[in-house]
Symmetry: C2
Subunit: 368 residues, 2 copies
């Protein structure tokens, strides 16, 4: 268990921070000062990979954004617009999506023909700014990203007053919401968590009751983990000390899914603390598995786009100096091909559940 | 409530059909006959829109596929491969995905260097052929499509021995599996079903407890409804007499989502009976709503791809003669723009739940 887990602020604290922004502006105006917001810079030049913390983090550069400044007033007003919307959402205990937030903020300012925002990019940026200004997650501002994915395991949670047993939800499992900030873990009986990048493979593991047999929690979405899922993984990791294992194909895309869960992403570097699990381990297919499990026949030849992506991924700072990973990338390059988890079905329908996973976990065959 | 609902065969019946295929081939060989399969033709020339049944259906053209025929043996063996795999799956009570099925069938025939299939397209086609030959759904062959989507409502189901209450699953809801053939409805207390094309809007409706206030079931995936969801809608409609309402954006893509749920799709015309709900009603945004709810400001200008899609969709046989729909398409064309459900948030965060939906349903403002 590494690194500090920044405990989310409580709802009351978030609300207080939002109100204090309003108060500060009000005071400045009363004192005939030009109100400003201090916004950490999210440009690439202020994002770096911290090898000690093993994640992408934001540097210390901050800019001041003034209300009475021709080039800054628009962004200033947008950020205040989000601040006010978020306060309203928290008070009414409602949540909205990024897209809805855009439409709400697209309102025309009275007596003008000017909208607070015209494009969703503007409202998104304003939301990200506010996240940084008050050091809270978008989800804590009651603004949600996409909902995707399912989970099963020996876990009981409380959510909106309901007691939900993740082990008793038939073939479907619990549908992971976009926002898991307020779910409460009542019972967590598991040794680790497997995140798998494909719903179909999740259904395989679920039907074979892998979560029961290996005493774990299984989570999936489709491709990249949503923010809701990343927060779920993070909470299970830090609050319940569960290791996170990432199960993907042997290709640059799968490895990048692992990379985002472990190190964070460039787009969200400013909240790596809230989303990344630096100790996450790769349990996906490796170049060695191809040989070991006789999957050569099932390799899928690289297209140009795969080749390009491989070069990008292997050159990320956090992979560059990692010999084990570079060895995998070399194997991938030499094969000039990828392999899918589903290929394990050629060894037997339940091979992945009954042989591959138990064996790899027991022999500690992870990549880090 | 229109049309006949073809009750799914039982598991035993499906298994019997599979075995009878094997027996027939065996007998033919023993009698020195050349074994063949009768496969309904799925080419476009054999697909038509039936205005009476209001859905896409397969014509009566059938072709014979022989084992001892140089051009046909490959497909013959592939179909038999699926038959055998499906029997094995049913007997072991396991399900697999299309992709897994492909890898299983990619096995090399003993003593040769020939694989039963080389591409997933081949195994997919063989599966579709088998669906037609024994008149069962792929899901009944234990071969599943994608899993996506969530559901909430006053419904209790039994699935894999678990009793699941769709009204007590917190913010997430029940995650809809890829295969709903074997779920059992224990209690269904609802007047209708809303399928919404966006998970974010589902979260809006769910947070506002629309299913409780309007006594309905709310279902969503992302975009086109998965086969699992379409079967769920169909079962709720035919087995529990619930009308199906489809809630989408005002754009050709949204209307096509409605169209597929209602009439079926060309790709799956051969199983329209098992997937379509011809009485489904459109509850999505209309050209009239733009005016009525003041959404003009939030129109999104058409791109070329939207224009093209509009022309395609409006010319489908089942829309061509429909004056109400042509009027909508005209409005869309004149506006040269689309509108999203999320735009209703500009009228108030819960406007869609508390005003828009109840009003439209009460005033019977559906499009059919």
């Amino acid at each position: 268990m590494s690194k500090i887990f920044i405990k989310p602020k409580t709802k009351e604290e978030v609300k207080k921070s939002l109100i204090s922004i309003g108060n500060k502006i009000w005071n400045d105006l009363e004192n005939e000062q030009n109100p400003y917001l201090e916004v950490p810079v999210r440009a690439l030049r202020n994002i770096k990979f911290d090898p000690k913390q093993k994640k992408l983090i934001l540097g210390s550069a901050v800019l001041k954004r003034y209300l009475l400044h021709l080039a800054q007033i628009r962004k200033f007003v947008q950020t205040i617009g989000v601040t006010s919307l978020s306060k309203e959402l928290i008070e009414s205990n409602k949540h909205i999506s990024l897209r809805e937030a855009f439409y709400v903020l697209k309102r025309t300012i009275e007596g003008t023909k000017i909208n607070v925002v015209d494009e969703q990019e503007e409202s998104n940026k304003a939301i990200e700014d506010l996240e940084l200004i008050i050091n809270a997650l978008r989800e804590q501002l009651h603004i949600n990203a996409n909902k995707l994915g399912a989970v099963a395991g020996n876990v009981i949670i409380r959510d909106r007053g309901d007691l939900i047993d993740w082990s008793k939800l038939g073939s479907g499992g619990w549908s992971v919401p976009s926002n898991v900030e307020e779910i409460e873990f009542v019972k967590v009986d598991a040794d680790f968590v497997i995140y798998v990048e494909k719903s179909a493979v999740w259904e395989r593991l679920h039907e074979d009751r892998v979560w029961e047999k290996l005493n774990c929690i299984i989570v999936a979405s489709q491709g990249q983990a949503t923010r809701g899922i990343r927060r779920l993984l993070q909470r299970l990791h830090y609050e319940h000390k569960l290791p996170i294992y990432v199960l993907t194909d042997f290709d640059p895309w799968g490895i990048y899914i692992y990379s985002v869960i472990k190190f964070g992403s460039i787009a969200l570097a400013h909240i790596s603390d809230r989303l990344a699990v630096p100790s996450a381990r790769f349990l996906g297919l490796t170049g060695d598995d191809i040989e070991k499990y006789g999957l050569k026949k099932h390799l899928i030849k690289f297209k140009e786009i795969d080749e390009k992506r491989l070069e990008q991924v292997r050159n990320y700072e956090w992979f560059k100096e990692n010999k084990k990973w570079q060895r995998q990338f070399d194997m991938m390059k030499n094969l000039n091909a990828k392999a899918e988890l589903e290929a394990l079905a050629s060894r037997g329908i339940t091979f992945i559940s009954e042989k591959y996973l138990p064996e790899k976990i027991e022999k500690n065959e992870f990549l880090d």
